[in-house]
Structures are given as C-alpha cells and as structure tokens.
Amino acid sequence: MSQDSPKRWIAVVGNPNAGKSTLFNALTGLRQRVGNYPGVTVEKHTGTAFTLHGEAVELIDLPGMYSMAARSPDEEIAVKVLLGESAGLPKPDAVLCVVDASNLERNLFLVTQVMELGLPVLVALNMVDVAEARGIRLHPDQLSEKLGVSFIPTQAHRGKGLVELRAALGQRLLKPGPRQWTMPPPLAVAVGQIASAWRQSEPSELRAEGKALELLAGSDVGPDGARKLATAWRERFRKEAYDWSASVVHARYEYVRKMLGEAGIGSGKLGGTWTDWIDAVVLHPVAGWAVLVGMMLILFMSIFSIAAYPMGWIDGAFTWLGGTIQNALPAGMLRDLLIDGILAGVGGVVIFLPQILILFFFLGLLEDSGYLARAAFLLDRVMHRVGLSGKSFIPLLSSYACAIPGIMATRTVEDPKDRLTTILVAPLMSCSARIPVYTTLLAAAVPVALVPVWGKATAMLGLYVLGTGTAFILAWLFRKKLLGGGSPPLILELPPYRMPSFQTVSLRMWERAILFLRRAGTVILALSIVLWFLSSFPNTSDDPTDKLAGSFAGQMGHGLEPILRPLGFDWRIGIGLVASLAAREVFVSTMSIVYHVGGEEEGLVTAMRSATWPDGALIYTPLTCLALLVFYVYALQCLSTVAVAKRETGGWKWPIFMLLYMTGLAYLAAWLVQGVGRALGFS
C-alpha cells in the first residue's frame, strides 16, 4: 500500500473476555486495562499498529458484545463504531474478530453477524493454548475455507501469532461471501421482499438483507417501501405468534454447529479442571462466603501490617527532609511554606501510598484470576433482594478502588434503572482515597500500640461493611421506591481461572502509583499552598493556635462551627471538611497543615489526640472520631465523581441528587452517632 494512502481503520471486536484488549495491547504497544472477567473494556480506544510491511493501521479496541443487538451502553458503543455511526471515528475499513478458541460455538455466532456488515473480516483464533488444554482440536485452515475469511491462531498474552497477524493485516483482507446460514422459510420470504424493495430504492446497497433484518427488529431507517413492508411482516409474524428473531439465532447456531462438526472441532470436556475444583469451594453457599470474608480480612490486615514498613520509610524520608530544610533555611515565610505547607500537605498524603498499592494489588489479583465474576455470582442473591442483579456488584467492587472506574463499569449493566441505581450508590463503597482518612482517624480514636493488627483490620473492615451495607439498603430504596420496576435476572459468564499475570497486576499498581503521586504533586500541592496561605494570613498572633484562629481559614472554620458542633466537630475539623470537598484525602493533608506537623503521620495523630476544646475537653474522643469516620464513609467529597456521574447519566439532575443525599446522610449519621453515643454514656 502506498505511503500516501489514508490510514486504514480496523475495528477489534469479539465476545467479552475473548482477549481483545490483550491482543490490541500486543499489536499497538499500548497498555489498555485487561482482566479476566466479562466487561473490562467499556469504552472504545484507538492505537496504531504496524503490519509486517511497515504500514500503519489504526486499531479500534471495542467493548465486548455477544451479538449485534446491543443491550447495554458498552455494547451500543461497539455496534455504533461497526456501523460507522460513532462521532469522531470513521467507519472501519475492516474488522478484526477476536474469538476465544476454547468457546468457538458462541464466538462464531457473533462472527456470522459481523460478516454481514459488508466489511472485510480477519479472525484471530485466540487462546489456542486454552482450547488445546481442554482437548479441542483446532483446524484454522478448515475454518478459513468454510467461512471464507482468514483465521490466524494467536496467544495474545504470550505474544504468539502476532507476526502472522501483522502479515495478514498487511494483505488485502477478504470480504466475506454471501450468507451461508439458511434463513427459515417464512422469514426468508419476508427478508427477500424487504431487501428487494430496499434495492429498488437504493441499488447500491450491498447489505440489503442485513438492513431488512434491522427493519424487522424495529429500526425506522430505510426507504419508505421497505419500511412499510417490514411493518406489515412484523404484524403478520406477531399474529401468527412466530418468533422470527429466535429463529434467526437458532439458524445461525445450527449453521455454526454444523460447520464446526464438519471441521472436526468439538466443544471440549467438562470437569476435572482447576476451575471446577476451585469453583467447588468458592461457589459453595457456606464455604464461598467464608472465602470472600477471609480474603477481605487478609486484605485489610495486609494494609496495616505489610504497609507499615514502607510507610515508616516514607515517614522517615519526610522527617529527614523537614529537618534538612529546617537547618538549611533561616526562619521565615519560605521555610514555613515548605515545612508547614508543602511538606505537611503532600507528605501527609504520600505516606499512604503503600496502603493504596496493597489494595490495588489485591483487586488486581481478584480481577486477573477470574474470581471477580464468582463474587458477583455469590452476591447475586443479596443484590436481588435490594432490586439489583449480581452484575451490578462488579462496578460496586471496582468502586473500592475508585468510584470513577466503578461508575464507568456500570455501562455493562443492561437495565437503565439498574444502571442508574448502581451509579447512585457506587460512591458509598469505600474508595482508596478514604484509606488515609480512615487510618488517621482510627489511630486518633484508639492508641495504636493498644490495638493488634487484626483489631485494626476488623475496624477497617467494619467501615467498608458499613458503606457497602448502606449502599445495598439505599439501592433497594432507589430501585424499588424511587425508580420502580423489578430487578433483572442474572446472566453472567464465569471465565476459567488463570494464574494472575504479574505484569498486569504490577502495571495496574504502577499506573495507580503514578496517578496518586501526580495528584499529590498537583491538586494536593496546590491546595496545600492555598491552605497554608489561608491558615497563615492575616497574621494576628505569634501563638500558633491563635494565629490559625485569626486566619482566613480559621474564620471560615469558626463560621461553620455552629453547624458542625452538634456532630462534635470543632472549627479546625470544619476547615478539613471544606478543604476535602474536592478530594477526601485532602482532609489528612489539611489537618497536617492545621496542626503544623510536617509530613509525619504519627505527629498528626499525636496532635489530634491532644487537641482540646476551649474548656480543656478532648476534641478527638473515640466517639467524635467514630462520628467523623461515619461522616467520611457517607460523604461524597469528590468532584471527579460528580463529573463522571454527570457524563454517565447525561445531565446534572442525578449528580446533584447524589451530592445532596450523600452529604445529608453523612451529616445525619454523624449526628446520630454522637447523640446516641452520648445518650449511652460514651464520650
């Protein structure tokens, strides 16, 4: 192909979990997120790949789909791209179908639909190693011959078959021949008539049959004559109780089965695999729950025990840096800004990086092993009681890392009301940004030395359970009382287990670390400088406490104190709450600045534990810490979540509702904790 030719666009499509993104990454050198559960990719991504002849082609990685009849927002994205209706992207010049070789029957069902789009098609026969391990004998040449498009065996995760795939992409790709599956007689007559009417109006239409089927399915795009005929046939089928769409699926499957049988390709054996043995335990109604709770407990214990070492090193590094600056610079505004503003703010948050990475390490293992879909299965019964299906649990579990990918992952949820409910409650799942707040407040509530690791892990688990339990209760309220309608039934593919990829898990941790540090170096740094200024000026006193009280931030905190006093919060906590409206972890950096403790975690905890009200009573009593913890479990405090909720719900109505209900709930719950606690005699 000439260097001056326009770039070719090739769409990468296939069933969920067929390895599309892994293959896309291998061909383009990019790092799109991959995992071992259906629905990892929910957005289209583009990247440049090179053929063996050096020609650059643009690949479009699409969300997985089971058929061309889209039923969820992620599938709609894929179908729109294939039909050339996606804004900002040209219609693809060809399609690269990625099929799971261990599950050809269902994967080729989609291929038969894609072949009717009138575009050249190339098929990557992926995961051939998994298929062969299951005793499936593959015959790519016979498949190519029977379907009339090229089949290239690949193992995307091991980089095998890529040379052959690049070579095939460089050649002129084959346009599939005429439809090979046999349309059932009543439908064939209807489609023939509608397609003929279409061709009379638009003789150049190459896929009139496919368009006729779309018209029958309810599309209203097409020439008048064809549309009228489609309406008449649809009505006739309805009167005759003839389920034409079922007959199409049936006929396609019959064709695929027959073709695979003729090619000598079976569907593999069931039983006796690692997946069966592991499933016997993790899907067991009792043992499965024990495994789930046990894994969560190990996660939280690791967050406290293993993370303690690197946190100590970071703490030491910031203490050393603070001391060095203290010695190197003369007393003055610059030194105050560096130590009390930047080091306190940024260091106060960066110290929690190890805990966040441990969370991502565990989530990465769950995602890449195939366990995540099992957790959704296990929780379907609970989810059904609150009006959702187990499918909503995957976005909710993703929200433990961050509500933003969690809300994005709701695109895999087919029912619009289910999806909206899941979006509304996703921020209640405790995200990684809450870890610094929880850790600091738990340490302030009870002396660290008095609590064993398992005790801290259990307390942390309790906060996660509180958020998750409330999310379920509110999901029930929103789904059944506010939005109405019943919950959809669960249909979920359970992928075979595989050994988690060290590269995939470490890449996810690395990306998260970079994101976290970038945030610390930008948003938190900027907020720390602003907050240092607001808490240092006007300079009304030499006494640090009086100086803060008279500062802009102090005045704002005092203004808020009447509203916060019923919760047991003083004006300094008020400063922290307002400063952390944009991002929760800013609470810790703010308190570090407010209490002038540099970047040391223990310094902050000590300062909080000794902080008092004007009458000398301690502010951070266990009860107040609990009220503050409960406040942070429920409060939205994340502008990025509001922005992504606006994008995913298509307006401001639901994000505003989310902000209001979560803030109201946080206030009410903290007030109740304080009130009930005091009534019971706690302080």
Partner: protein, 87 residues
C-alpha cells in the same frame, strides 16, 4: 410454521429441577423477549445441550463450552428435557 409453543408439551422440567451434573436439552424459553434473546445469543437456544454444574439459589451451567451463571428465577423459565430420556 413450527413455533416454540409446540415444544411445551415435551418439556416437563425447568432448569432448577434438574440435578447437578445432568445434561439436558433446551425445549422452550418462557421469559421476556429481551431476556430470551440474550439467553439464546449466549447459547441457551432451543435444542441446545446444557449441563447443570451447580444448583442452589443461583445456578451454574455449561453451555457452548462456557460456564454461565443464571439466577434461579431465570432458570425456572428455561424448560428442558433430559437427553437420555430420564424424567
């Protein structure tokens, strides 16, 4: 014209009534059109062979070479018959 209704007479069981490990043939789907279509696309079309792997509140089945989890209330709407003739 053969419609799915004709299969009902032969279907005496729903998927929840089948023992784990049994292989059955799908005779009729009695759910909403959208759900039926999704089931068919995932391999649960009429005449497809399905092996029930695990029962209980929710089920796991083996169909078209993959494990698919189904809620029990959906499984109740999948009418099947034993392939070896046992009832």
């Amino acid at each position: 014209m053969e419609t799915s209704q004709n299969h009902l007479g032969a279907a005496s069981l729903d998927l929840t009534q089948v023992s784990s490990g049994d292989e059955v043939r799908v005779r009729h789907l009695a759910c909403s059109p959208t759900t039926c279509q999704r089931l068919r696309e995932m391999g649960f079309c009429e005449n497809a062979l399905v092996t029930k792997i695990r029962g209980g509140a929710d089920l796991v089945c083996w169909v078209c070479g993959t494990r698919v989890a189904l809620s029990a209330r959906l499984a109740k709407q999948i009418l099947v018959e034993h392939v070896d003739g046992k009832s």
